[in-house]
Structures are given as C-alpha cells and as structure tokens.
Amino acid sequence: MMDNTEKKYQVRAFLNRDGARKRIKNRRFLDEFSKKLFGSSTLIAVVVLGILFYRIIRDSIGWLDFDFLRNNLSIFPEKAGIFGAMAGTLWLMAVVIPVTIILGVSTAIYLEEYAKKGKLQSLINMNIANLAGVPSVIFGLLGLTVFRRFLGLGSSVLAGGLTLSLLVLPIIVVASQEAIKAVPNHLKEAAYAMGATKWTVVRTVVLPASLPGILTGCILSISRAIGETAPLVVLGVPALIMKVPDSIMSDFTALPLQIYYWTLDAVLTAEYANLAAATIVVLLSALLLLNSIAIYIRNKYQQRY
C-alpha cells in the first residue's frame, strides 16, 4: 500500500504488475523455446554432415592409399587411381587462377577507382553480383557454345578452364571490390597530395592495402572451381581419359568428374563406390585446406588501420 498523499507528485500506475508478470513468463518460455529450436536446427545440420563424413570415410578405408594417388585410371578397381584426375584438376587451376586474377582484379579496380559512380556503375555491379547466383549448368552451356564450338577449343583444359573462370569470376570481383572499397580515403588523399597520379595511388597504396581481401577472394574462387562438375559435364569432357594432360589443349578429367562417373558406374561395379568415396576424401581435404587458409588470412589481416 502506497501512501500517495505525502508525495510531491503523483506517479500514475500504468504498469499492471500481474499482467506484466504473465507476459514476462510467456516471453521467457519463448526464449527457451527458440533457443532449443535453433539449437536443434544446428544439430540436424551437424548430424547430417556427420553421417556424410562417416559413410564416406567408412567406404574409403582400405581404398585410399598412396597407390590410389599414384595410379591412373584402370578397368580394374583395385588398380585404379586418381593421378590423372589430380593432374587434370591442377591443369584446370593453372588456367583458372591467372585468368580470374587478371580479369577479376582489373574489373574490381575499374569499378571502384575509375568508373564514374552513377546508374551505369550500379547496373554493372548488380549484374556481376547476380551472376554469382546463376546455376553452374548454364555456364556449361556457355562454355559449350563459345569455347568448345565457336572458338573450336574442343573439350580441352583451356575450354574447361575458361568456362570455370567465368563461373567463379563474380566471386573474386565482389571480394576484391569490397577489399578495395575498405581502403580508407585519407590514405589515398595523402598520396594524391604528394603529386601521385591515380594509377600510382592504386599501385602503391590501394592494392597493397587490399591484398589480403583480394587473396581471400582468390582462394574462395579456386575452392569453388575445384569442385564444379556440371559445367564440365555439359562441356562434354569424356568419361574415360587414360592420358595425363600435357598441355592446355589436352583432354582431361578432373576430381569431381571422377567422383560423378564412378558413382554412376557403381550400379554395375560396387567397388567404384569405394573409389568415389576415396576421391571425395581427397577433394574435401583439399577444400578444407584452401578454406582454412582463406579464413586464416582474413582473420590475421582484419583491421590493420
């Protein structure tokens, strides 16, 4: 009971204590419930991933050894290896890496430093970002039409590499743009004030400062390209290649392709499933390594200014 008569001012009780208590009780329940809901969603994802890893590793035991890595393809599953596939993937990356870096970083530099900010620049930005969402099969069609047929490159490493480069270009352009945008203006002003031209400022101040971000973008785009299967299938890369590629015009096979074809043929030959599993382990390990490096670089060089 409050004695209001002696107070200097009246405080109108607008908070109904009982109603509030009930509402708070509901909200606390909702709080616990959502925590459990989100937790179980995460748990589902982790469990699915765990089952995947378990089955793959279980299927690959006994099949993943040094001979597996050293041998090339063979009709006999015990003798088959992924040497050719690994070589093919490396050859592909030898095309993808320079093409994406040169094209991607140049595009990012142009869009951020040289292009006049306006409707046209926004339009280009939006289109590049949207390309990242285009299904990879469509890039396969593009590669088929332009690189294989129109330019006559066949199903060579070059054709496959160029197709994959276009696929991952948006990743590196956007990552580089973000890195370049993050370079503070006052650093560029200091350089301009000493008589530097725009290219000098880009070369000596902007690029060195944005290098970690650009590098992260590179690594992420490589790790995407390594695992892409659909574009190569549509491009018409043959299923059985015995020769290890020796030039960019050679035919090739790649790790994700091997996984795909062995999985298909596992219906007839059960051991192919084990080979596929072993290849998956190799591919996932490579991806894990690449992504870890990317995350490490990003964390180490965050906030240097």
């Binding site: 200091a190 350089a191 000493m194």
Partner: protein, 275 residues
C-alpha cells in the same frame, strides 16, 4: 644634371625596381576573385588574397566558414570531390593553377599538404618518408637514405626514430605520426606547406612541438595553416585571414588583426562573441 646625379638617379630607379621585383617575387600565391560551389551551394565567395614567401599565413573562422575548402583549392585537392565548380583564378608564381596546361601532379610536388588526422601509410617509417621521392623517380639507395634523414630531421623526428626506421609507422604516437606526415611532405622538397588543422587531433604537448616546428620550418618554406584555435593563430602566424560563411572578411598582419581589427565581425569572433 651632372654625371654623378645621373648615376644617382639610375641607382635609385634600379633600387626601386629591385624592391618591386622582390615584392613581386615574394608573392607565392595570388588568389583573384575565387568563388567555389559544391553543386548548388556556394562555399567560397570572391576570395582575394596573397600568400607571401617564408611567412606563416593562418586561416581562422568558425566551423563551416570555408577555410578547409579554401586551403584545398591551393593544391587542387578539391578536384577529387565530384560536383565542384570554381570561378576566378589562383595564381601560383603568376600561373593560374586551374589552367589546363598546368599539371596538378606537378603543382602538388611544389605544394605539400598535412591533414588534420595523421595519415601515415601502413608501411615502415622509412617507406613512408621516401614515398614521395620514390614515385617521382628517385631510386638510389643512398639518395633515399639521405632524403629520409634530412626530412626526418626537418620534421624534428629523426632522433626519436633513427634506430627503428623499419618499424611500422602505426607504432608511433599521434604526435609522432603527424611529424612523420610532415617529414613525408618535406621529402618531396616543396616550396609551400599547407596544413589543415594539423594539431586538432593532438594533445597539448604534441601541439606545442609542432608549433615550434612550424616556427623553424618557415625559414625555408611558406606555410598556410588552417586552425580553429585563435590562440594558435596568434602564436605562430605572420598574417591572418578571417573567413566567415565563405567570405574573406579581413586579411592582414596577425598583430593588427588581433589587436585592432578593422571589421566588427572580426572583432566579435576574436573576442569570442560567436564561433
């Protein structure tokens, strides 16, 4: 007239011409009817003033009066801001800096700038100082070393960093970073040093060190300094320009401005009635 008187007259005329030439030579900047617009807004209205060699010219005025905008026109840093329009002339050694034939990069090698917030590059102290000479073609190691030492001495920073030139510039304190930025500008061997509120981000002791530095620097350089502190302007400058809402209200010797200002608005600002 006798021969001797002729000689005397000739001498007088020569002396007078020399004095006029010297006064003309002493004018580094001649700003004529400068007006500037940011889009539709007029930021500078008909500015007329002269900057003379080896003097410290202070620019004072309340926030938003156009002082930073004005100093940025002197080395055309406003070029980097889109939508800026100017009319009028700024003559640097009798050549209009807005003329198409005069390259802005060349102007900036003769007119350096130090900013309000110290902005060293994320590189070593040494690399910061020699950045200017390097981009302008000086490669020789011994040349660069000499330039670095002289510039750092000129900025009163040499003794503090001579043993750690390879360290990252960000390890220095705020005052040291600002002196590093001054050294960096000096390394390009400019004639003029523009300073846009160089001590407003620093503590009083660092501020004092830089003010002492400015007193030394003016022997070899011409300095224009924007400051929001009237006390600072009174302490270190020879000439003072008072800006208000984009107009130059009064310009003259610092002593005169602060003791007997001609304009009522100047007096109001100085005595703290507004600003």
């Amino acid at each position: 007239m006798s021969k001797i008187e002729n000689e005397q007259n000739k001498q007088d005329i020569e002396n007078k011409e020399n004095k006029e030439n010297k006064e003309k030579k002493d004018t580094i900047y001649n700003v004529k009817d400068l007006s500037l617009w940011y889009g539709e807004t007029q930021a500078l209205k008909n500015i007329n003033l002269e900057i003379k060699r080896n003097e410290v010219t202070a620019i004072i005025g309340p926030s938003g009066c156009g002082k930073s905008t004005f100093i940025k026109t002197l080395n055309r840093m406003i070029d980097n801001i889109p939508g800026v329009k100017t009319t009028g002339e700024i003559q640097y050694h009798n050549r209009d800096i807005f003329d198409k034939d005069n390259w802005v990069e060349e102007l900036r090698t003769q007119v350096g700038m130090v900013f309000q917030k110290p902005n060293p590059f994320p590189k070593s102290i040494f690399e910061n100082v020699v950045y200017g000479p390097k981009i302008h073609g000086i490669r020789g190691k011994s040349d660069l070393n000499q330039i670095a030492e002289e510039s750092l001495k000129g900025a009163a920073l040499w003794e503090e960093v001579k043993d750690r030139l390879g360290d990252n510039a960000y390890g220095l304190s705020g005052g040291q970073q600002q002196r590093l930025c001054i050294a960096r500008s000096l390394a390009v061997q400019p004639e003029v040093l523009l300073m846009d509120e160089p001590t407003s981000a620093l503590d009083p002791i660092a501020t004092h060190k830089i003010e002492e530095l400015i007193a030394e620097l003016k022997k070899d350089y011409t300095i224009v300094i924007v400051t929001h502190s009237m006390q600072q302007a009174a302490r270190i400058s020879d000439k003072t320009a008072f800006f208000l809402m984009g107009e130059l209200i009064e310009f003259g010797d610092t002593d005169q401005i602060f003791t007997t200002p001609k304009d009522q608005r100047t007096e109001d600002y100085i005595t703290g009635r507004f600003g």
